[in-house]
Amino acid sequence: MSGLAAGRALAGRVEAQARASRGDLVWWLARAAVLAGAAELFLLRLVTRTAVHIPGIATLGGPYLVVAELGRFAYYLAAVLLSLTLVGLAWVLARRASPAALTGAASLLLFLGAALAARAGLIGDALLAPISVLAVEVVMLAGATRPGAARRASVLLFGSAFLVSSAYALFQANATENVGAASFAWLLPIGEFVVLAWCVEAPLLLRRRPDRASVMWGIAVALATLIALRTGEATTKILLLWNLGLAGYLPDPAYALAFSLLAYALSRGARSGRSSLATAFGLLIVGGLGLHSTYQTGFVLAGLAVLSFERDDGPSSEERLMRSA
């Protein structure tokens, strides 16, 4: 009997290790997707879009084209990594016993299928947009059932902000015969307010004491945001709109406070062994607010799934998550 028990234990360990290895791959993919997405955000959405307006940029044609091509490569790389991350996350969540994880997995796959079908021209935006919103909604609600008030609040705040901003596009796209349709533009500042609340709430996910480096990061980002908004308000707000879906409806200090606390949480998460939390923040930042493209919506879904199902139990949180599968 003892031999049989030892055999079972060995088999269990081997199986757990195999699951952890697949989990490792998913986390590796998620982190790589964040890095590629951040490179795309910086090179393509920020640098080339700004540089194209510089008078005389034609004289820098060569270097500019190199940067633009690198940005495009980062985009395609991020898209491939994101697709694999979504499949991997769905697989990991599907292995878990909880209904929340299973519905989360189903939502990720539903979105991925819809995005592919839309790319192939099989479905139009009239179907794709509601499916995207539904997928975000289900992952958000699944995340809201997870333990931890701070996590629940974080998932609900970002999910709500995304839904409110998406509702603006969704309502309008579906009001084809709505004579004298009401304006839905009022939804946009509400979504922006809620997403800033999400930024402010982010440090609550980290219960550990603040470290000096992360605090300095937060202060630096607050100062940089304030200086950018005060010295070049219009340019900064247009870049915020293009890159993150924020139109800049609220007072400047609100953005400085929110971005500084998010930067602090990112740095603290990466430094304190909560790299999965930093990965989730990274995915959500690259995704941005509102419906823009399936690429960005995919990032939001992956970010919400990681934020909902990551565990705050030390440096090996990813492995523990996978082993719990």
């Binding site: 995005a115 309502f171 247009i238 823009h292």
Partner: protein
């Protein structure tokens, strides 16, 4: 068991190769989810009248604007949103744009006066990526249709209003050497060409008039706002101007100038690109809807209801536990 070194490298190389292949093929795996303007099929010619019956059958797409901030002079946050409707009739595109503006600025006769205006911007060619929204770029130009309130009213009428005691003794109006700007083809100097200018650009500082005057338009000020209709046949009248067709799509960006706020040239409110989808279906054929479909309200309202229910349940449980 973690992934061994070699399989991880192979996997990483596979991902890089897949990305490279997509880039070389230009196969964008994502699709846009920005709001779209449907171009419905009008059974009757709507003409250039912003009050034509067909426009009341279609809901406008409400597009938020922000001030132009990439270059000086920068815009003013004067016009928050713009409503856009579009129809097609006999291979011509009609776009109706409306916005609220409490000041009717249709004269630029004095040096301190500036005209209200609106412009539509299309990519010159269909491509997988849109050109820069600020006048396009060298390898990807844009075509701009600009309507001006002062041109709609007429320069002579505006001058007469601005300077009622103005008197002209005798100035020959047909001798070109007296009008060098007109002789040089300056579109502002050529009178009676209509309120819409057809412009092309391939980057910053390259904006100029197109040779073809294929775009017509008419604007009307009513109820504290402007409504303007643009019309152009589907076929491209010249280079750097897009062709349109049934079951196709293109991109459209908009800009509005509020004259009383000093808007002119680059000082304006602008939108991002939205999609213009030529459906070729009559708005009568669309499923009858009164407002936004209920399912959409459920879809977006459900999470908030669920979150509220969840919070209440949690609060009740805690209260019970305490008691």
């Amino acid at each position: 068991m973690t992934l061994r070194r070699r399989p991880r490298w192979v996997f990483g190389a596979g991902v890089l190769l897949a990305a490279l292949a997509l880039q070389i093929l230009g196969a964008n795996p994502a699709v846009s989810q920005t709001p779209e303007v449907t171009v419905w099929l009008a059974k009757k010619d709507p003409g250039l009248d912003p009050g034509a019956p067909v426009w009341s059958q279609i809901a406008p797409l409400d597009i938020p604007l922000s001030m132009q901030g990439m270059t000086y002079p920068q815009g003013t946050p004067g016009v928050p949103t713009l409503g856009v409707r579009a129809v097609m009739h006999e291979h011509a595109l009609y776009v109706r744009v409306s916005w609220q503006d409490l000041t009717r600025d249709d004269s630029a006769a004095r040096v301190d006066q500036f005209s209200d205006a609106v412009a539509l911007q299309f990519p010159a060619k269909a491509a997988s990526s849109v050109p820069s929204v600020c006048m396009g770029q060298a390898d990807s130009g844009v075509n701009i249709w600009q309507w001006r309130a002062d041109s709609e009213r007429g320069v002579q009428a505006a001058l007469a209003d601005a300077f009622p005691r103005m008197a002209i003794d005798a100035v020959p109006t047909t001798v070109e050497p007296l009008y060098p700007a007109r002789a040089a083809g300056n579109p502002y100097a050529v009178i009676d060409t209509g309120p819409v200018q057809n412009l092309v650009a391939t980057g910053f500082g390259t904006l100029g008039p197109a040779l073809e005057r294929a775009v017509s338009g008419h604007g009307m000020y009513e109820g504290g706002g402007w409504a303007v209709v643009f019309r152009r046949p589907f076929d491209a009248p010249g280079p750097d101007q897009p062709s349109f067709g049934v079951d196709t799509r293109t991109d459209l960006a908009l800009a509005v100038w509020n004259g009383s706020k000093g808007d002119r040239n680059g000082q304006k409110s602008v939108s991002s690109f939205v999609r213009l989808v030529f459906k070729g279906v009559s708005p009568d054929a669309a499923p009858p809807r009164q407002g936004t479909p209920v399912v959409i309200w459920y879809l977006t309202g459900a999470p908030f209801a669920a979150a509220l229910l969840f919070g209440l349940t949690l609060a009740v449980r805690r209260l019970r536990a305490r008691s």
